[in-house]
């Protein structure tokens, strides 16, 4: 993407540096760390804490729940909500979107990164430009089309429009990764008697695997978090995804907004992402800084 990306060892360069500083430097450094950490974590922490309060203490402002309770989680998975179903729907939609985007993206990225042909930058630019498309400009016409062909409340009605942002994201990321691989690899393999296709599948693809994996994570997170398409294309609770279900969450009682249950549902939807983020943080940062769209 920029100078940074080609050799973006965001994880390694910093540690090698030494910057001697006095006590004052150390203090400002730790204050800086504390501010960043509180900024990023405090709201999330509040969601987690609130989800463990009882319905009666929900408006408490103590830092920890006075009584720890799983009441809210019980409400979320109450059979009337079908929230487990929504999670499964999210998994299906985001999973299939990711796989499709990766399959198409690998071929396209290979062509852009490793083959020699004209209009290469123009083609990459067109693909990136499509990712800048406002979702609503895709949703309005497709909503009408899908209504006509009876696709409303189907998985494909959510998966197909999701490709409009997933494919550009995948192509772009994979292209960046494939460009970084040494250029003589395939030639060497072909001198040894491989066909172009074998050089691609046996040499390049295994080497690009970490990049493919990173791209898969990023695409999956974007698809999992998608809202406007899923909101428009499905109104049947049995088919809607978790992000939409959560926004319509009313919980068991109609008397007051079930904040505890909403927070618990939010935690449930976010936890898989948190685990992915904590386990693969290096890869995600690498992927984001080398050409992600959001």
């Amino acid at each position: 993407m920029t100078a940074i990306t080609d050799r973006a060892p965001i994880v390694s360069t910093g540690a090698a540096r030494k910057r001697p500083r006095g006590i004052g430097g150390a203090v400002t450094r730790w204050v800086g760390i504390a501010i960043v950490a509180v900024y990023c974590l405090a709201p999330f922490y509040w969601m987690v804490v609130s989800s463990f309060r009882t319905t009666n203490d929900i408006f408490d402002t103590s830092l920890l729940p006075t009584t720890w309770s799983l009441e809210s989680y019980a409400q979320v998975f109450d059979s009337s909500n079908d929230f487990g179903r929504s999670l499964l729907n999210s998994l299906i939609v985001a999973g299939i979107t990711t796989v499709l985007a990766l399959v198409l993206g690998i071929f396209a990225a290979y062509a852009i990164a490793r083959l020699n042909f004209r209009f290469k930058s123009a083609i990459l630019a067109v693909i990136i430009a499509t990712s800048m498309f406002p979702g609503i400009a895709v949703v309005v016409p497709l909503l009408r089309l899908f209504t006509d062909i009876g696709w409303i409340n189907t998985y494909q009605a959510m998966i197909v429009p999701s490709l409009s942002f997933a494919i550009p994201l995948a192509v772009w990321n994979l292209t960046t990764f494939m460009k970084q691989l040494p250029h003589d690899l395939e030639q060497a393999a072909m001198i040894d008697g491989c066909t172009k296709w074998q050089a691609f599948t046996k040499i390049l693809l295994p080497l690009a695997a970490p990049g493919v994996f990173t791209t898969a994570i990023l695409t999956f997170i974007h698809s999992w978090n998608e809202f406007i398409i899923a909101l428009s294309m499905a109104n049947d609770p049995a088919i809607q995804t978790a992000t939409v279900a959560i926004s319509k969450f009313t919980g068991a009682s109609d008397f007051q907004a079930p904040f505890g249950a909403q927070m618990a549902a939010g935690v449930v939807v976010t936890i898989p992402l948190m685990i992915v983020v904590l386990v693969f943080q290096r890869r995600i940062v690498e992927g984001l800084t080398s050409g992600a769209t959001k």
């Binding site: 730790w30 999330f44 396209a108 630019a125 609503i136 400009a137 895709v138 909403q262 943080q281 940062v285």
Partner: protein
Amino acid sequence: MTSSTTAPPAAKPQPPRRRKEDRAPREGGMAALLLSPTFIVLVLVIMYPLLSALYQSLFSAESGLDANGFVVEGESFVGIGNYLEIFAGGESGRFYNALWNTTFFTFVTVALETVIGVSFAVAMNRAFKGRAFLRAAILIPWAIPTAVSGLLWRWIFQSNGIANDLLNTQILWTAEGFAAQVAVIVAEVWKTAPFIGLLVLAGMQLIPEEVYEAAKLDGANAWKQFLSITLPLVRPALLVAVLFRLLDSLRMFDLPFVLIGPRKSSVETLSILAWDQSNQLQYGSASAFAIILLVYVAVIAFVFIRILGADVVGDADKQAAKQAKKQAAKFAKEAGR
């Protein structure tokens, strides 16, 4: 939009690479084969909707009586009628309000995000021990689904919620008016400033330490170093980050929708307005709104890329690296004197 992204890099051909490419065999046929599935899908999910929206925006859903007194239902061709209605009709107030909200949210949030993101990058760049922890922490706002963060902030901004409690106020954040706009801005900035921070940090870590050493020898204080070394050298990374955020904010939908709700005039963006229209089966005007938003996004992207020269495609990689090296050498030389 597309030509604008390519034009700046393409205008400066790199002679050595060109020559090498000319010697290599052209592989256009294979490239076309590999690229075609992607383009077929993109035509279906981008080109078709775009053309369809353009076409639909010229029609209006009508039910009424025709000249002979029969009930007519269906759509009639109105040409640019929808657009005229949007810009100058009786309902134009709603459009201008949404246009203003979109613009206001975009520029305020991106400005705040940039400042906060750059400060975070500086803080993280100095943190050696806590960096792994911070990197995980900073990804959390980014990874939370926007719909969930909308709910989370609605909870924080409840009338008897934690925000009013901490501020010792009794503001109805999630109702209507300026307070609702502030709530949306706070939630949006919280979620996206770390992203800018990450991209800028990546840019900062490529600045060779010698440049700072040289500047220090020269007697430049920390602020001076930041202004004359860090900022200019992270500029390419920062520009790309800001461009993405601009284009993303212009299509803002989830956050105001979940945090405040649809059909609230103080937070209604163009995306929400278009969605609401299509929800009421007004596909013609919904399409017109979507097209207007698309043009707005394209214009901002074009202006941003042309004026500030954000390099999105990455052709200027080597040039930027060269420039960074040159700048470093210049500083080193100046320091040596």
